[in-house]
């Protein structure tokens, strides 16, 4: 047997926990609790249904569901079948979901009942013929009649695989999950993360946080956000229980944390910011937490300090990592005394990369800059993806070799950082037009492409606004070449193409663009105009 066939795949952690702790709770979602044995059983039935479709081998299967039992068991079922999973978000416009489904090439789609409303529009437009698995469904008669070119499998048609069935062979280079990030050309970019990439992360993180079966994890992130992978697989690796936070509790999770005595918290920094606005981040609020992790956007010293007081028994860490480097790749541990002085511009450092990963801060030519100088952060190591799905040009741009580092492949993050004398990385901003909105990565050009598509504007510029401490609350759009604009019509058009966080909150018409010294549209000036309310 080849060595790599003995590799421990992502699903094995869950399956081993299911063997060790069959009766322990694995998941609480929508007020329902599922043991490891129950969840494994559901996943096994979905895996069997997937494998029955395999006339020819295929690497990926998609799941259109949102933090439901169908979503979690669907992901586990796909991995149990030896495939990688592609999460699709029912909150996204159908057109965007269709595009992701087509780019992924998936021919099997698992759909939760919460996403059924989206199915007809998706099925009528998608190019490929699909097998649609409905784990919550009893009858697919109407769908089968309306969409005869697709196949449907409902719950009573799903048979359990025998417990003795061997797991399909999974190689370390096989895709564990495929996520899409905002693309500057207007088309989302697929980022395949391999089994080896994510296994490296899960192992390191479980050890670092000494995760055990009595832990209770929060699950705040949409499944299309890679931080959800941490929630699920770090939790299940050690037999802990995952608590899916209902959307309505996301902004007021204090009661949820208390009710469920959570021990592991993971969210974007926008959550403590929101709690602070609502005066809900009070000292001593979350005594059960033993770890508080934040990732996805800059964490302010103010919110780190307030959260630390609220979760006084917890260790607070700021994590950092682009999707391409698997969930998170660097960490900074908050210290009540020392950290406020180590922050730069009120932003908590992103710290140092995980053991086994490498960071380099480089200039425009890819050469390492001196300590303390600003440069682009480049990353390499076992967590770094090998490139974008079917996009060699973009892969060549972002996955590069650096002078003096041999054949090592480095991912250019586009993040501007500097490193202090101790090696601690400090985040300064972006070198391009990417912004973060509540932790979601957004290419402004993608919004501009949508604006041009839905209006007859000659030119469209999207500005992140307002920006507080390096993180944006929303988007304001500027359009030119129009006498007048029906703002609501343009915004409605955008809603059919973009996820809600990318839809502008406001449209401004402009006749003359402010230009910078190079003759390009001066985005900073547009921000100043918003600041001064000149538009």
């Amino acid at each position: 047997m080849a060595k790599d066939t003995q590799y421990r795949s992502l699903i094995q952690g869950f399956l081993e926990s299911a063997q060790r702790f069959p009766a322990r709770p694995a998941l609480v979602v929508n007020d329902q609790s599922f043991t490891y044995e129950e969840l494994r059983g559901r996943a096994a039935r979905i895996a069997a249904a997937i494998l029955l479709q395999e006339e020819q081998p295929f690497p990926l299967a998609a799941v259109l569901a949102q933090r439901s039992i169908a979503a979690y068991s669907g992901i586990l079922g796909i991995l149990s079948a030896g495939k990688g999973y592609v999460p699709l978000n029912p909150k996204f416009p159908v057109e965007r979901t269709r595009r992701m489904l087509q780019l992924s090439g998936c021919k099997v789609l698992i759909v939760g009942s919460e996403a059924l409303d989206h199915l007809p529009a998706l099925l009528s437009d998608v190019d490929q013929t699909l097998t649609v698995i409905l784990p919550d469904g009893d009858d697919s008669g109407a769908l089968a009649a309306d969409f005869p070119r697709h196949r449907f499998v409902v719950s009573h048609q799903m048979q359990a695989r025998g417990d003795s069935s061997p797991l399909p062979e999974v190689r370390p280079g096989a895709t564990a999950y495929l996520l899409f990030t905002s693309g500057s050309t207007g088309i989302p970019k697929g980022v395949p993360i391999s089994q080896a990439n994510v296994r490296s992360y899960v192992q390191y993180t479980c050890d670092r946080y000494q995760v055990h079966e009595r832990d209770r994890f929060s699950q705040m992130f949409d499944l299309t956000f890679d931080l959800s992978v941490h929630d699920m697989f770090v939790c299940w690796e050690r037999g802990a229980c995952l608590y899916s936070v209902p959307e309505r509790s996301v902004m007021a999770p204090a009661k949820f944390i208390r009710d469920h005595q959570l021990t592991m918290w993971f969210s974007v920094p926008s959550v403590p910011a929101a709690l602070t606005k609502m005066r809900l981040l009070q000292p001593g609020s979350f005594p059960s937490l033993r770890y508080s992790l934040f990732c996805g956007e800059p964490l302010t010293a103010l919110h780190a300090g307030l959260w630390q007081e609220a979760a006084a028994n917890s260790v607070l860490e700021n994590l950092y990592g682009p999707t391409e480097t698997t969930i998170a790749i660097s960490q900074y541990r908050w210290d009540r005394q020392r950290s406020p002085e180590e922050c730069l511009n009120g932003i908590v450092p992103i710290g140092s990369v995980f053991e086994g990963q490498q960071a380099r801060v480089v200039d425009a030519d890819g050469r390492a800059v001196a300590c303390g100088e600003a440069g682009e952060l480049c990353l390499s190591g076992t967590q770094v993806s090998s490139g974008y799905l079917n996009n060699p040009e973009k892969t060549r741009e972002q996955f590069v070799q650096l002078p003096g580092t041999g054949t090592t492949t480095w991912y250019r993050t586009g993040d501007l950082v500097k490193q202090d004398a101790s090696g601690c990385l400090l985040y300064l901003g972006r070198i391009d037009h990417q912004v973060k909105i509540h932790g979601n990565r957004v290419e402004l050009q993608e919004i501009e492409a949508a604006l041009r598509q839905v209006s007859s504007a000659q030119q469209a510029i999207a500005i992140a606004w307002p920006v507080n401490n390096g993180s944006a609350d929303g988007i304001v759009a500027f359009l030119s070449g129009l006498q007048r604009v029906d703002e609501q019509s343009v915004l409605e058009g955008c809603r059919t193409l973009l996820p809600s966080y990318m839809v502008p909150k406001r449209i401004c018409l402009i006749d003359d663009w402010p230009l910078n010294a190079n003759g390009k549209i001066d985005r900073k000036k547009l921000q100043e105009m918003l600041q001064g309310r000149q538009v």
């Binding site: 909150k91 209902p246 309505r248 902004m251 204090a254 009661k255 809603r495 059919t496």
Partner: protein, 111 residues
């Protein structure tokens, strides 16, 4: 100055129609018994913006410390909570200046 529950509901409906996150081209359907989160009209961050907007319009803070989130996602329930706080403040003689909410988003058309 007092504000009625109906006026508050109208404010909420108006705000949601301008700032909703729903998909599609149809007109926004919103009634007093609409659950703003379950309907997909608002996400949790937009709901905060709405609550902060109500605070600026009622001139008092809305205390959600002990409120179950299920209770402030429905239009009329949210308005009742806001109104309760509003009346309490008036009774306490705490009718102060507008709360400091510098970055309320798109609270009014001219923002």
């Amino acid at each position: 100055m007092t504000i009625s529950e109906q006026e508050l509901i109208s404010l909420v409906v108006g705000w949601v129609k301008t700032n909703h996150r729903g998909k599609g081209n149809g007109a926004v359907e919103i009634r007093e018994d609409t659950d703003l989160i379950a309907s997909g009209l608002l996400d949790s961050f937009a709901l905060i913006d709405l609550i902060l907007y109500l605070e600026t319009r009622t001139f008092c803070e809305i205390d959600l410390t002990d409120v179950d989130p299920r209770e402030f996602c429905v239009v009329k329930d949210l308005c009742k909570i806001a109104l309760k706080n509003h009346k309490n403040h008036q009774a306490d003689g705490e009718f102060n200046a507008q709360p400091n909410r510098g970055n309320v988003l798109a609270a009014s058309p001219e923002v």
